[in-house]
């Protein structure tokens, strides 16, 4: 299927190796899965998958996660999947929980949680202890979170339906907050080629208003000293650095950007200027991922600390 890549032209100046980028968009995404270490070890899972005719290779940067080499049979139709031994998730969307580094017994908020992949990842990283609040404003999408939680056996997750922009402060504060906001999803075009047809500068600007409100609320419910991960699956600076830049201006004394280090994974620094707008210089410490860099989708992550 021919991609409507004209819209992406406006990123030509910021995306390295432009031709390689465009070429990578023509290929479907590899399937990636991660071990439910509450139930099984990665080594045991590899052995089971091999018996099911599924060859995998380990991701170099994420312990217990694997890239599927053979798509037949589909991993999601195996008994091991139904038994909750692993979960299937796009590689690049593993980034925000991995960088957030949730610890056992902490209290974590996933503000825009549906369909629950990152919630599950966080819950497992916490060893099924403490509290993960999976919030989403869309009641119809929350069923997907429940299915993931039940299959993987996650007893540390509560699911909430509420508008994240007005998430109640009565729910207390959180050690870490993930804000994986609704976005224009440009970075998912390898999975959903039609997504680019809906993208426009106006669309991104409209989404950015809600994204800012979500990030602002995340800052408000994060405890002093806590960490916030802001992420999107889009290339649009209006939805990425410019949203983070605005929240830094709203909370100049309270927030700092944490540098991101990620061995064995290629990424580009965040932008510090875009179309005549000068942005916070520390935004260079945020992370941009383009599909051709690691054979993934596109993504953006910023890590913020709320000062004591």
């Amino acid at each position: 299927m021919e991609l409507a890549t004209e819209h992406l032209e406006r990123y030509r100046a910021i995306i390295p190796e432009w031709e390689a980028f465009l070429e990578s968009l023509q290929h479907p995404l590899p399937t990636v899965l991660w071990t439910n270490t509450l139930r099984i070890t990665p080594e045991e899972l590899v052995a089971i998958l091999r018996e099911e005719g599924i060859a995998v290779t380990p991701l170099p940067w994420y312990p217990g996660a694997f890239r599927v080499q053979s798509e037949h049979p589909s991993p999601g139709t195996t008994w091991a999947y139904f038994a909750g031994l692993f979960h299937i998730q796009e590689e690049v969307s593993l980034l925000p929980p991995y960088l957030l580094q949730p610890k056992p017994n902490e209290r974590i908020l996933d503000l825009c949680a549906a369909p629950g992949n990152k919630t599950a990842q966080i819950a497992v990283m916490m060893g099924n202890t403490g509290t993960v609040v999976a919030n989403d404003h869309n009641r119809h999408r929350v069923g997907a979170i429940r299915a993931v939680v039940d299959r993987l056996g996650l007893i540390n997750v509560s699911i909430l339906v509420s508008d994240g922009t007005s998430f109640s402060p009565r729910n207390g504060t959180f050690d870490r907050v993930l804000v994986d906001v609704p976005c224009s999803c440009e970075g998912t075009s390898r999975k959903t080629p039609t997504v680019l047809a809906q993208c426009s500068l106006h669309f991104s600007q409209r989404l950015a208003k809600r994204q800012l409100l979500l990030l602002k609320r995340a800052v408000e419910v994060c405890r002093p000293g806590g960490i916030i991960a802001y992420s999107t699956c889009t290339y649009a600076p209006e939805e990425n650095e410019m949203v983070v830049d605005q929240v830094l201006q709203l909370f100049p004394e309270q927030l700092e950007i944490l540098p991101i280090t990620l061995p064995n994974f290629t990424f580009s620094p965040g932008l510090t200027a875009w179309q005549g707008h000068e942005l916070n210089r520390n935004l260079r410490h945020t992370l941009r991922v383009y599909p051709h860099q690691n054979d993934t989708g596109g993504f953006y992550v910023a890590l913020l600390r709320k000062r004591q």
Binding site: R39, I40, I48, W79, A80, F82, A83, G84, L85, N105, R107, N128, T129, G130, T131, V133, N135, V142, I145, R146, A147, V149, D150, R151, G153, L154, I155, N156, V157, S158, I159, L160, V161, S162, S168, R170, N171, G172
Partner: protein
């Protein structure tokens, strides 16, 4: 059994006088250690369901959560029924009323929610008909209903749920 409406408080811990016999039942039926079952918090999800959560879990207050932890025990029938999620959660610790699917054919039948015969060798300590925990290669995948009408050929009705 189920909660009487006047007893019920959504997402509050199950009262000890109601919980104790339920955990005793799980202990008797599946030989699940009582101290294992008591490690967790059992919450009232609705009149007919108990949910299982971590004891240190601090659920949000407003609005009321749609779900907390996993649904674990159904109370609507004459006897409580362990859910698929709880069977997968506790199933490796069970040593009684457990079915080990012997081969891929049995596994396929189970995943197809079929009714199929087993041999008694596949049934671990299955002394009574009723709900069993179903495992494959020692890994719990759900529940089934075991019929023991013929002592040589037990029949398993799959209750597989994705």
């Amino acid at each position: 059994m189920k909660f009487r409406p006047e007893q019920f408080q959504r997402w509050q811990p199950c009262p000890p006088d109601i919980l104790a016999p339920l955990l005793q039942y799980l202990h008797r039926r599946f030989d699940l250690p009582l101290d294992l079952l008591q490690q967790y918090q059992w919450l009232q999800q609705n009149l007919k369901t108990l949910a299982l959560t971590h004891p240190a879990h601090q659920p949000p207050q407003k609005p009321e959560p749609m779900a907390i932890g996993i649904p674990a025990l159904k109370l609507g029938g004459k006897i409580p029924k362990i859910t698929s999620a709880a069977a997968r959660f506790f199933g490796t610790a069970a040593t009684k009323h457990v079915v080990e699917l012997p081969d891929r054919s049995a596994l396929q039948s189970y995943l197809a929610v079929a009714r199929f015969p087993l041999s008694m060798d596949d049934c671990i300590q299955c002394t009574e008909a009723g709900v069993v925990i179903v495992r494959y290669r020692g890994i719990p995948i759900g529940t089934g209903f075991l019929k023991l009408d013929s002592p040589d050929t037990p029949i398993l009705q799959s209750q597989f749920s994705k």
